[in-house]
């Protein structure tokens, strides 16, 4: 038997170690040169994670930068059903805290899944209570929730954003792109428990821009409060109010009833969420007489003192008998408008002619959208004279056979207030970044000249007369001249005939008459009683009085502030 010598054994050991070393080197080289990418990828996936970074949705502010829509942090509750031991007890506890159905929660907790949402965007109080319970298998993910701190105030204009912070209605929808911002990505290091540790912004998220509105929270509040009071008093089915700065077309307030709370919009009906001021059209009735009067004066067909015989309240046009609510004999042009005589206005319209009247209806912006920065604006109906019936010449001038929106009426009365210009109504003043630096600013836009300045001045005097001695006496403001026109229109029944019990009451006007600061359209759907002069005119009075007092005090304070700043060394 061969027994190796000591030196041979040493040599053999050395050789084996060397062989092992070579093997290791080969393996190392293989890993390094051929497997490195694969292994690096596994390591990267284990140690780090790409996370989508949600941008913060921009706020919506009123013109004094008071917040109307903001983002509030909110926890979303999820469960890992496999890890929950006492499913029934947990479901019962959560049902109490979250005010959710017990069977719904139990069913979700019983699912064979490793992740399931239980409730998204819960309140901080609910989150705190659930955290205290320290239930294994429940977890929270931090999200942000769109919230409206002023509740119902301005809800139709603001609209709502859904669970995923995407605009669904109103300004939230119209300016969704600007408000949303852009998503970013971050690379996070994570531990064995998948906890995110340290992150680097791979692609930073770009937060959404904020909107600064022309809406004034205080004026909006005044308008809504007065609308509510009148709605309750006159048992109306619905109501709308639009308040404009007639010189610029800025919308200072817009409200509708019924309304809803955008913080809980799922609890409201689609009808309550509808912005009636721009989405609903109706026959305007006598407020439309301002168009006929404008056409007559601008075309020099009549003068203020021209007399018209009002047939003592009954006048046949084709096969239709036209009535006045109060019989009149001879009335001047001014009195025809002030007393809102249907017969007088029909006679004026006959002098003006259908074609000219149709042209002025178009010039005032009826039958077309005004291009306000909200979705859902309707055009209304304005038929050309070629399709008019024999009675249309007695219907259209008094606001029948045409349909309009509250916004169109507010814009039309602004034409007379500002000296004859149709301004584009707009809600958003500017889009600003997080430091309130303007990104985009909207400026007043003149759509067209409708009537001359002198005609507008003449009409102002007539409309002042409506409030001073005509049908709009209840709109009269102490120590202030206001101009306006009342309207009471019969609604059309389902069978196509005019109703004798359902009316639309309205008032359009502006104040102060000599230097208009606000123009308004107020509409009530089926009020009791139903006269525009009784229902809508007092609302105008209250809103105008309070709004002007606020606007003037605001102007005075800012004026004093400016002068003091100037004087400060």
């Amino acid at each position: 038997m061969y027994i190796p010598t000591k030196s041979v054994r040493k040599h053999l050991i050395n050789c084996s170690f060397f062989f092992l070393l070579v093997l290791l080197l080969i393996r190392l080289s293989y890993i390094h040169f051929f497997r490195s990418n694969f292994l690096k990828d596994i390591a990267r996936r284990q140690q780090s994670v790409f996370v989508e970074v949600e941008p913060v949705r921009g706020a919506i502010l009123d013109r004094n930068l008071s917040a109307l829509a903001v983002n509030v942090p909110a926890d979303s509750l999820y469960a890992v059903p496999k890890e929950i031991k006492q499913k029934e007890k947990t479901a019962r506890l959560l049902a109490n805290i979250l005010q959710l159905d017990y069977s719904f929660l139990k069913e979700r907790l019983s699912r064979d899944k490793s992740f399931i949402w239980l409730s998204r965007k819960i309140s901080p109080e609910q989150s705190k209570t659930i955290r205290k319970l320290n239930i294994e298998g429940l977890g929270f993910i931090r999200e942000s929730k769109r919230s409206y701190p002023k509740n119902i105030l301005c809800s139709h204009v603001l609209g709502v954003a859904g669970l995923d912070n995407i605009g669904l209605e109103g300004l939230e929808l119209f300016y969704n792109q600007e408000l949303s911002g852009k998503k970013g990505w971050s690379l996070y290091l994570r531990d064995a428990r998948q906890r995110k540790l340290i992150g680097t912004n791979f692609l930073p998220a770009k937060d959404g821009f904020s909107l600064v509105l022309n809406i004034d929270e205080v004026i909006q509040f005044i308008a809504e409060t007065e609308l509510d009071k009148a709605l309750k008093k006159f048992h109306a089915k619905g109501a709308s109010i639009v308040l404009l700065d007639p010189n610029s077309g800025r919308i200072l307030a817009m409200a509708n009833r019924p309304t809803y709370n955008p913080n809980d919009f799922k609890a409201s009906s689609a009808a309550a969420r509808r912005n009636r001021a721009i989405c609903d059209f109706f026959e305007p009735g006598s407020v439309f007489k301002i168009v006929t009067a404008s056409a007559a004066l601008e075309e020099k067909k009549v003068a203020e003192n021209d007399k018209f015989f009002c047939e003592n309240g009954e006048y046949r046009v084709a096969n239709h008998i036209l009535h006045d609510h109060t019989p009149h004999g001879w009335l001047s042009f001014t009195e025809v408008i002030a007393q809102s005589s249907n017969i007088g206005v029909t006679k004026i319209a006959k002098i003006v002619g259908a074609e000219i009247l149709y042209r002025y209806i178009n010039l005032f912006g009826f039958g077309k959208t005004l291009g306000v920065d909200l979705y859902g604006e309707v055009k209304g109906v304005n038929k050309p004279p070629s399709v008019w019936s024999k009675t249309s010449i007695a219907a259209v001038p008094i606001g029948q056979e045409v349909t309009v929106t509250a916004l169109q009426l507010a814009s039309a009365i602004s034409v007379i207030a500002n000296g004859g210009l149709l301004m584009q109504p707009f809600i958003v003043d500017s889009i600003v970044d997080e430091n309130n630096n303007p990104i985009r600013k909207n400026y007043p836009q003149i759509l067209r000249r409708v009537i001359s300045q002198s005609t507008a001045e003449r009409l102002k005097k007539i409309l002042v007369e409506v409030v001073e001695s005509g049908t709009g006496k209840l709109a009269k403001v102490d120590y202030l001249k206001v101009a306006g026109k009342t309207g009471t229109a019969q609604k059309v029944e389902e069978n196509g005939t005019y109703s004798h019990s359902k009316f639309t009451a309205s008032f359009i006007g502006f104040a102060p008459a000599d230097r208009p600061q606000i123009a308004m359209a107020i509409i009530f759907d089926e009020p009791h009683p139903y006269y525009g002069g009784v229902v809508a005119a007092p609302v105008f009075k209250e809103v105008a009085t309070k709004s002007l007092r606020y606007l003037n005090s605001r102007y005075y304070i800012s004026e004093v502030s400016y002068e003091t700043k100037k004087g400060t060394p």
Binding site: N71, V72, K150, I152, L189, E224, E563, T564
Partner: protein
């Protein structure tokens, strides 16, 4: 000699590898500390945002109006006889008026019931 050189290279590589591992553990330790402070910061920011929302909510004119008329049943706007009407101040008077306005601050009630302000600012002799 060659073996010594090989060992020293291996030792250097090992030390270098250990340093890398040490660096990684330090980064992880720092990450845990950082995560803790980031969580606290996020919590504080959340609380700040929520408080800001609550302030906006409490400032809501609608809410103040409801509260005022629900809780203070005897609240009444002042009658004509209780109001002192002022003439429009002259330009020289405006600075002094501003001082009063700023002294009054931007109180919630004064903002809400702005129509009471001219009367509220009235002083005897004006």
């Amino acid at each position: 000699m060659k073996l010594t050189k090989a060992f020293s290279i291996i030792a250097t590589v090992n030390i270098f590898a250990l340093l890398i591992v040490y660096q990684r553990t330090e980064i992880t330790k720092f990450s845990y500390k950082n995560k803790k402070s980031e969580d606290s910061l996020a919590q504080l920011m959340d609380r700040r945002d929520y408080l800001k929302f609550r302030i906006e909510y409490c400032k809501s004119l609608d809410r103040i109006n409801d509260q005022l008329f629900a809780e203070v049943s005897n609240f009444q706007l002042p009658g004509e006889a209780q109001i002192v009407m002022l003439n429009k101040p002259q330009a020289s008077q405006k600075k002094a008026d501003l001082a009063k306005v700023s002294n009054k601050g931007t109180g919630l009630l004064s903002k809400t019931f702005f129509w009471l302000e001219p009367e509220a600012q009235a002083e005897p002799g004006e």
